[in-house]
Structure formats: structure tokens, C-alpha cells
Symmetry: C3
Amino acid sequence: MTSQLPALVTVLTLLLLFATLTMVGRARSRYGIKAPAISGDPAFERVWRVQMNTLESAVMFIPALWLAAQYADPLWAGIAGLIWLAARIWYALAYSRDAARRGPAFLLSLAAWAALMLMAAGGIGLAIMENNAP
Amino acid sequence: MTSQLPALVTVLTLLLLFATLTMVGRARSRYGIKAPAISGDPAFERVWRVQMNTLESAVMFIPALWLAAQYADPLWAGIAGLIWLAARIWYALAYSRDAARRGPAFLLSLAAWAALMLMAAGGIGLAIMENNAP
Amino acid sequence: MTSQLPALVTVLTLLLLFATLTMVGRARSRYGIKAPAISGDPAFERVWRVQMNTLESAVMFIPALWLAAQYADPLWAGIAGLIWLAARIWYALAYSRDAARRGPAFLLSLAAWAALMLMAAGGIGLAIMENNAP
């Protein structure tokens, strides 16, 4: 299980991206916002921002997850990844209801991402020092 | 060829992203939409949405392609990847002319992506079971 | 150091994405643009476009960096990656002040990306020919 955890978390992240895309499609028909428009109703705009913010954060997350798995530890990277994923689901649900409530979920996802970045940076730093050791 | 197919499909996907970015740049000058504006003419907005939708779908596609190649089979992953790529080129051409015509190309790209996700999920599931076998 | 350079460049790219996200958050409060709005003040819109353009280009960059590292050379890929990174930092600073000044930084980042794509395509082409050799 351990070594497959980052792969599993990645698959679940791609499903989350697909879910936010589906939410935008449904909001388009519910609020009558025809493509290519991306504004016209605050409820539609929130759902669209959820999709974009999830996309932005996934681009920051997936490479961090794999670098942490590769250079530090796949189990701990996977656990931080699961926390990030739970925080992003919470964020999507909270923001699509009320923009003012997106803060705590965002901060939790940021903390999980920061943990992955520290694992990655620490692991890469160690690998560089070992390679340069006399 | 087989084992380089996912790499080749990835290079072609990056070229598609570059092509959609170039389309937005040309549409900016053709329709007189100066940066940072992203609205003002429906034809410009369609091309901008093509770029954003291609970006969103590429973020979902590239990890799915490589997980399917790694955990299932690089040849079948590469073939599904080529179908996705053809569907996204069709989508870009259809949507930039008429937003109402983007449906079929979107569904084909979605089917190719779903095939990659099933390969990836199946392969990861098998790997987890084998690791946990007594 | 050589073989860890692409990993290091990736970590720095993720930090750049985080920096552009932070710039948008600060611009939201400075110019009073409440989420989910993404327009209302040209200075806010420039910072938001910087974030989106950095995201787009990072999605094109990270896979190109790793394919070039894998199929050509990690040192040269890492050097092209550092040039891309410097160009994108220059782009973010220039565009957030004045949209008309984003051109030269964009072209430099494009040249670095093109170099990575040529390394990747060349390396993949060689690998395909070697596999098919009689």
C-alpha cells in the first residue's frame, strides 16, 4: 500500500478536478450562463472560481507530492496528500456556498502543501549534499 | 516505440497548449482586446475559453496518462492518449468557431480520459493487492 | 548536484506559483475586489493575469523539463529551467506594473521552453530509433 499511496492520491485529485468541472457545467445550465461567458451570477462565479482555484492548487500539489514521495518518504507524502485532498473537498463545498467561508479550508490545504514542500526540499538538499560529499 | 509513446503524446500535448496560447495572442490583436482584459468580444472569449479548457483538461490528462502507462500498459495508455489529443484538437477548432458545437469533441476527450483513469485505477488496485498478499 | 537540478527547479517553480497566488490575495484586499470577482481594477486584473499566465506556462514547463532531463540531459535541462524561472519572475514583476512591458520576459521564457522541447523531442526521437534498430 505504502508505495502506491501517492499514485492513489493522484487519481483521487484528478477525480476532484473532474468533479469541479462538472459543478461548473451544471451551474452553467442552472443559472443560464452560456459558454463562453464566465460571469453573470455570483453563484455561478463562485463555482467557476472553485474550479480555477482547485486547478491552480492541483498544479502546485501534484509535483510536490511526487517530489516528497521520491526524495523523502512515500507514506508520509501520501498522508499529507490525503489531508490536502480532504481540505480541497472542504474548500470546494464551503466556497461554492459562501465565498467568505473558504478561509479555513484553504489554510489547511496550504499547511499540507507546505509539509510536502518541506519534505521535498529537505530530501533534495540531502541528496545534493550526499552527491557532493568527498 | 511502445515505451516512448506516452512521452511523445506528452510533447504533442504541450505543443497543443502552446497553440491555444498563440490563438489567444492573435485574437487579442485581431479583436483589439488589450491585456489584462479577457472579455469584450465573443470571438475572443471563445478562444480564451478554449485555452483555459485545454489547460484544465491537460492537468487532468498528463498525470492520468503516466499513471496508466506505469501501472497498466504504455502502449494502450499511449493509444488512449492519441485519441484524447485528437479530440482536444477537434474541440479547439469547433469551440473557437461556435460554442454550441463543442459537445461531441468534449465527450470524446472525456471517454479517452476515463479509459486512462480506469487503466490507472485498475493497475494501482492490483499493485496494492499484490503488495498485501500473504 | 546535476541529477537533482530538475527537482530543485521544480520546487522553485512551485514557490513561484505560490508567490503569484499570494500577490492575487494581497491585490484583492488592496483594491477591494472581493472573491469571486476577478475584475474591477486594472491593477488587480494585471496581477490576476500574471497568476493565470504563470500557471499556464508552468503546466507547459514542468513536463518539458522532466522529459528533457530524462531523454536528453538533466544538467542542460536544469540550466534551461533556471533561465525559464528567471524569465517568469521578470515577467511577473514587469506585467504586474505595466501590461505593455511583459513582452521581452515572455519571449525569454518561451526560448527556454523551446530549448527544453527540442531536447525532449530529440531525445525521444533517438530512443524510438534505437528501439527500432535491426
